[in-house]
């Protein structure tokens, strides 16, 4: 039975009183897969440095290494715990002397809530040039906008994300849609701080919204990771710290430079970081997939 069907059946059973669960389902709302679209057509400065499709294929293109031993038992585990639940009930009847060692208090079932009714934008860095943003607008704030701009505010405006690069001091907008609650954004510049602002723009001219952009809220500041060796562009001095004495020593970089080449040539920096042959659990190496 598909997982969803199984869950639905359990929910039905609970509702019909087949099991007297003490659990309250936190939410009856189904969790639709949030619309996750790639922002490949970002405007203005957002010209792809790396192909967007590369970002899309985050997991699909990886070598899959399925450990034979790892078939999950959670489905059957759920059924079993249900059985045990019923057995457990029998066990406390006076006819049975032996009490099971552990009687589950209830069959637990939880769904993740679809939303938390808060106005928030959160930004995370997936890699040096891809940010992930998710957002939500509370009912109260939605109502405030409607009160201010009219009943059809959310129909005569469209959502936009404004990407502010705080380091290089530029901004650009990308259009999103009202079906989405998260987005992957391609950014051009690694090692920069960004803030993502959620806002709305009127669709065409309307007197009801006498501005071309209404800000809703902004995200946390997120720094995209660095993606290359910086070397010593403008650096003439470097610092050393004696971690025992906490004393700092300043040294000029020049005498080190001839050796830096000797050291860094080991790393074959012409290789892209993606082609570094790192094999670890997360690279799904058959010889290292611990789980």
């Amino acid at each position: 039975m598909p997982r969803k069907a199984n869950e639905n059946k359990l929910k039905k059973d609970l509702k019909n009183g087949i099991m007297d669960s003490t659990e309250v389902m936190p939410s009856e709302v189904k969790v639709p897969k949030s619309t996750s679209t790639k922002a490949s057509n970002a405007t203005k400065k957002a010209v792809s440095k790396r192909s967007t499709s590369k970002n899309v294929s985050t997991s699909a293109d990886k070598k899959s290494s399925v450990k034979k031993t790892t078939s999950t038992n959670s489905k059957t585990g759920l059924k079993k715990s249900l059985k045990r639940k019923l057995n457990g009930k029998k066990a406390i009847s006076p006819n049975l002397k032996k009490k099971p060692k552990f009687i589950p208090v209830s069959l637990e079932y939880y769904d993740l809530p679809y939303r938390y009714n808060k106005t928030v934008v959160k930004a995370l860095a997936q890699n040096p040039t891809t940010l992930f943003v998710y957002w939500e607008i509370s009912d109260e704030d939605r109502q405030n906008f409607i009160n201010q701009y009219g009943e059809d505010f959310f129909y005569i405006t469209k959502p936009v994300l404004t990407i502010h690069n705080l380091t290089d001091k530029y901004s650009y907008e990308i259009d999103i849609n009202d079906f989405a609650n998260n987005w992957y954004i391609h950014v051009n510049d690694a090692k920069c701080q960004y803030v993502i602002e959620l806002g709305r723009k009127p669709i065409g001219y309307t007197e009801k919204v006498p501005t071309d952009h209404i800000s809703i809220t902004s995200s946390n500041v997120i720094e995209s990771p660095n993606d290359h060796v910086l070397f010593f562009d403008n650096t003439t001095e470097i610092y050393f710290k004696n971690i025992h004495t906490n004393q700092y020593t300043k040294r000029v970089i020049k005498p080190f430079l001839k050796h830096v080449y000797g050291i860094y040539k080991n790393f074959n920096l012409s290789e892209d970081i993606n082609s570094f042959d790192f094999k670890n659990p997360s690279s799904q190496n058959p010889t290292s997939n611990v789980l």
Binding site: P26, T70, S71
Partner: protein, 532 residues
């Protein structure tokens, strides 16, 4: 023999498993991860360390033992279930001796497995009294093993840090757990998934951490550029020393194409009597629902790239161990010879690996480490084994740089833990983190032994269990996805239920509380005030 020491090699083994503890049922296959890891990795490592000590070999290894692993190793129910697991395996290997009597090559191996599982039981029960933590601690006390800490439940800092208090709490609980089990003050800290963000440094320092391990580009892409690359540590402006993974030695071990574990003489991981033996015969030893799963008893060697597998031969495997450790030894010698000409201080080659690679995945891995340690001690070479802690004691003058935000996941950043298959989770983790801080502020310093404090502390456990990076990894990896998703739902669900009780001032459902306290019994000493 006086050696001309020009550099150092540091092995760091990261021992971690997610917290899997199901008192409600013995049918969760996921619980076997622990038993397999104990039999195939932790006990073999302990035995090899002991052998080196007994033989008078001066060696050094570094190991992180993560809090979920420590909590599980210390759990009485899991200890008992591991003994049951071993007894079943002894029974099976005894039957195997009979079943394979007509094939001398396989029969030798049946005897080997019988001896090995019997010895595991002896080591676990009789020698260490079911307490393997004390075994590792013993080697730390002897000075040959440096044990380092890790985040509470292996929460991935580069995503959690949007609420820094949740990262601080992961570090605080990690260090508290370390202090509970080990006498020495913590020095090193394994960043979960090597996920480095500079924002965590101040909290690492707050709890006494001196050094962390990062992926190669965590150092190479640092600002300013480290003049010695990964061959010397750097220190961040907040005072945390960072070591970077050496690329060359990593490739020699990790590479799925030509890495040592792929040697044709080594044991084949995927051929197991759980799949190969007659169904009715093997049924009592596979999953309770009748699904064939691996048992750990394997008779074949890798042999080649085809499905045709020859019988495993212990001596041939040992020959390959000698060959591979000799190659590794020679490569480090050459590497250090070259590097020492370019550096003012001796280079350090840092080799971090998952501990479970050694033994569980690469069955002969613990033998490799043992043979290598002996070679380094007895043979003529230009390097010594060292721990990162010893290295910074010897060479405290360290270049100041900010390491690069990075991880050791595929592609080097956060894609494994943040991609379209698992991105829906982060919102819930962030909200639960914020709510935990809200609870601590709203109900500070609840009296000890009060019900409210119990609820608040259970909230901590549910939150940190949900934050475990393993669930996100499993979802990305595509195996056992149902289990991982259920764990996230369960912990977020339980947390939310407790949160609602507290915020709405509802009567506490004691039956529910007791039930989840028993199931999610990690961190018995958790104190919710770390979120204050």
């Amino acid at each position: 023999m006086e050696k001309n020491i020009k550099g150092y090699v540091s092995f760091v083994l990261h021992a971690h498993l997610p917290f899997v503890h199901h008192p409600e049922s013995e049918d969760y296959l996921e619980e076997q991860w622990l038993y397999e890891a104990i039999s195939e990795t932790y006990i073999p490592l302990i035995l090899k360390f002991q052998k080196l000590v007994d033989e008078g070999v001066d060696f050094r290894f570094t190991m992180s033992l993560t809090p979920p692993l420590l909590n599980m190793l210390d759990n009485k129910m899991l200890q008992q279930r591991y003994i049951k697991y071993l007894k079943k395996h002894i029974e099976l290997s005894e039957k195997e001796i009979e079943r394979t009597k007509d094939n001398p090559r396989i029969n030798r191996l049946s005897h080997y497995y019988f001896d090995r599982y019997s010895n595991d039981l002896h080591v676990f029960k009789d020698i260490y009294d079911c307490n393997l933590i004390s075994a590792f601690k013993k080697f730390q006390d002897l000075g040959v093993l440096e044990i380092i800490g890790c985040g509470a439940t292996h929460g991935y800092f580069p995503i959690l840090y949007v609420n820094e208090k949740t990262v601080r709490a992961q570090i605080a609980l990690g260090v508290q757990t370390y202090n509970k089990y080990f006498d020495k003050p913590i020095r090193g800290f394994w960043l979960p998934e090597c996920g480095y963000v500079p924002e965590a440094d101040k909290y690492l320092r707050e709890f006494g951490v001196q050094y962390v391990l990062t992926e190669t580009h965590g150092i190479l892409y640092a600002d300013p550029t480290p003049i010695y690359g990964t061959y010397a540590p750097i220190v961040s402006p907040d005072g945390v020393v960072a070591f970077g993974r050496d690329l060359e030695s990593s490739r020699q071990v990790w590479s799925s194409i030509n890495g040592y574990p792929g040697d044709f003489n080594y044991r084949e991981f995927y051929r197991d009597i759980g799949y190969d033996a007659p169904y009715d015969y093997i049924k009592p030893y596979i999953a309770s629902n009748g699904v064939r799963v691996s048992t750990g008893i394997r008779y074949h060697r890798i042999t080649g790239k085809t499905e045709n597998k020859d019988i495993y031969d212990l001596q041939w495997a040992q020959d390959s161990v000698n060959k591979n450790s000799g190659h590794f030894f020679d490569c480090r010698n050459a590497q250090i010879n070259y590097l020492s000409e370019h550096m003012e201080k001796p280079p350090i080659i840092v080799c971090p690996y998952d501990a479970e690679l050694y033994g569980h995945w690469w069955y002969e891995g613990p033998d490799f480490l043992y043979t290598l340690a002996k070679k380094v001690y007895y043979d003529d070479c230009n390097f010594k084994l060292i721990t990162p802690g010893e290295y910074i004691d010897k060479y405290p003058e360290i270049q100041v740089c900010t390491p690069c935000r990075s991880s050791w996941g595929a592609k080097g950043y956060s894609e494994v833990w943040l991609n379209p298959s698992n991105d829906y989770v982060h919102k819930h983790l962030h909200v639960a983190g914020d709510r935990m801080c809200e609870l601590a502020r709203k109900f500070p310093n609840e009296p000890k032994d009060s019900i409210k404090r119990r609820v608040l502390n259970q909230c901590v456990r549910e939150l940190v269990l949900a934050q475990s990076s393993d669930w996100l990894f499993i979802i990305t990896n595509g195996t056992m996805v149902d289990y991982a998703k259920k764990r996230i739902k369960d912990h977020i669900g339980r947390f939310s239920k407790l949160y609602e009780m507290l915020i709405n001032n509802k009567e506490v459902d004691m039956k529910f509380l007791k039930d989840i306290e028993e199931k999610d019994c990690i961190f018995p000493d958790a104190d919710y005030m770390i979120y204050y």
